[in-house]
Amino acid sequence: MSADSTAQSTPPPVVQVRDMDFCYGASKALFDINLKVEYHRVTALIGPSGCGKSTLLRCINRMNDRVPSARVTKGEVLVKGKNIHDADVDLTQLRKQVGMVFQKSNPFPKSIYENVAYGLRIHGEKNKSVLDEAVERSLTHAALWEELKDRLHANALALSGGQQQRLCIARAIATVPDVLLMDEPCSALDPISTLKIEELMHQLAREFTVVIVTHNMQQAVRVSDYTAFLHLGKLVEFAPTEELFTNPREKLTDSYLRGTFS
């Protein structure tokens, strides 16, 4: 695929999906997926509804494990070179390394501080100064610190929708993951909040590797370095964003981008 050529000069990918098939029970949802996610880059997954982009995203932190009949039937997923389905992989550690932000903001009904500190607390961090420091750092990264530093102990559910989503980002990055998965993070937000989050993503890419699912192609253009186009469970094309959008190799990609998709 096209991504192979660009991967030559860069360090080994942080996430690598190799020849993966994925099934929900008897029905196959993903076919023979190959994907490499580069360090400190934003990778966008686009495609029509039901194409399997969210499923692919959830394969990376094994969130699909919670669906009883869902499983990877072929191939493997490597995070930092380690097959995440190996028997010795600790799921809690994997999810600490691979954070996730959901489509709909879902802060806990706790204080802002407790929301951000939650990830550290469940991994056994009790030291108050460490927690304080992590909360400040994460909220700063999420561009919330200035807004919220005076009311860290207010209930998180009192925040606006955009703030809640950024709080969720802060919560996800508090444990310093290598990869941050974002599942249509802006789809429930107004344009201003969306803009703020898109700005945030560029900054986040300096510290983390971001994989974002989006149904909004302009957003993919704005925020991502690489774009993967999925269709009916198959990875049609994976290329640097500019290349994919200006000069798609596949006809299917071209027609999807033009909107003349049947």
Partner: protein, 644 residues
Amino acid sequence: MTSLPTPSRPPLRSVLLRSRKHTILGFDPQKLIKYFFGSNASVAIIVLVLIMVFLLREGIDFLPTYQRELQTYRRAGLEFCDIIDQPLQRNQALSSSLRQAVSASLETLSKPARDRRDAAFLLKRRVEDKTLRPRESLTQVLEKTPPEPEQIEVLRRELGAASAAAAKALDYPAFFSTAEREQMQREFSALTPEVTDLPPLLLTLVEEFNAKDREARTQFAELVTAQEEFEEAAEPLQEVLDELKAKALETKEKAVEFEVLETNRQRLLEAAATETDPKEKASLTKEAEESVAEAANLEESTREITSRTGELREQVEKYAVVIEKAAAVLPKDAGTGAARKMVNDVREKIPEHAREMRAAAATLEGWRWDKPVSIFRVIGAFFFGTQWITNSSWQDFYGFVPLLTGSLVIAAIAILIATPVSVVAAIYTNQFASEREKELIKPVIEFIQAIPSVVLGFIGISLVGDLIKDVSEWSWLQWVPGFPIQERLNMFNAGCLLAFMAVPTMFSLSEDALNNVPRAYIDASDALGATKLQTVFRVIVPAGISGILSAILLGLGRVVGETMVVLLVAGNRIAIPDFSAGPGVIFQPAHTLTGIIAQELGEVSRGSSHWQALFMVGIVLFAISLLVNWCARAVARRFEPHKA
């Protein structure tokens, strides 16, 4: 297209007015349906208001009625007597502790002898029981005239054989020597109906015991005499008091009688006033005039009582001196540890009792028969009264505290047991159970609700009561306060059953609360790498806490209002539980707000003060239920997370 005919439309006017065409009795059917639904919804509210009005109407008269009764209680001098009589009640409690201490002390010496005597009597009784039939036949034949010597002889032999067999089959306790066993066997074989004297060995045993008992009494002479002195000390005082009480009671009866006659007279006069027929009117007036009763001269009667204040005070003082002396000579050593503890306890309490008596005597002078009883005092006497005494020949008291305490303690026990069980079960079912387990657990727990409470009461009486009693007698559980328990029917038993009844409510509501926790919270927690337990206890339970708390409160409401089980199982002793027993207090019997209404309302005459008092209890119960439910709602609102 144009060839198609345009369907004809009805004229606009008729379309607009169509709704007017169908009316029922001049009403728009749409509105009628709306009103019908609305009225159904409001029926509940109307009924609730009616219940409140009815309860208040019946109960509110209680206060003036009780006020009148307390007024009479004072005016007739009953209150005067109670000033001394109430504290004197403690004399009995102290006496009984002393008696127990004495018998425990005596037993240290006389117990073996007594056991031997009792065992021998028991054995004799067994032989007699076993040979009942031949003996009865013999007795009948012996009574016959003329006597039939031959038949007597046959029956006598038969009885002898039966007795011998029975005596031989007896299981003789080890403390009888072989010689004694043989002697007993011989003597029991020779038992005949006409000889009523005890067999010689039994006589010896009785004598042995008496000797030991005498010996013990001399050894513990100090204790024995102190106990006797203490018991006798109250007698002269009690004598004076009884005299006064009789007098007061007589006065009270007169006063009550007069009141009844007077009310009747007033009614006659009222009837006469409204009567139009002059003849009838005259007859009513006449009847009223005839029934004029002489009012009891309360002042004179009470003066008779109060004139003896000096004598009474003197007696109290004498009593106090005597018991203090008795306390001083109470020996330090008693036969057993338990007895020593009791004696020490009594010694400590006697000065306090004497002080109390003297203080009571001092207030006698300040007592006035004609001081009015204020309404606040009546309210206090109801809400803070510690006695609920009805159908008494002396004076009825309607004190609320014993019932409230019973209800509260039982409810607290029930909630303490039911909360962990139902909440933990709800967490398990909602979060950990497989689908199949859910299908089993939920209907089974919800089925408990279908068990009639009277059946649970049965179970409490027959099964739980025995179980608790048996368990409380296990030797390795004796460290539990209150063990071994005295009463099978007690507050703990009732609390257990009420907990069982509250579990379905609390379980279902808690489970709902957990179920309502948004899925997104769980997603977020999982995505951060939380384990299942961390997610449950750090996210799901805190998010559902308002629902869980309100489930607990609604369970409390259910428990407080429950009647049948407490009536059957709580033991129904109307007294404030003795909290000095520590946590063991839960094994005491008690009565409850609900139980007392169910038990007594059917037996009292309508409109009497007792009837009204029960309605007052009902009002308070109603208020408590409202409060608990309101709290449940408030809690649900207070902790409700903002809708995400």
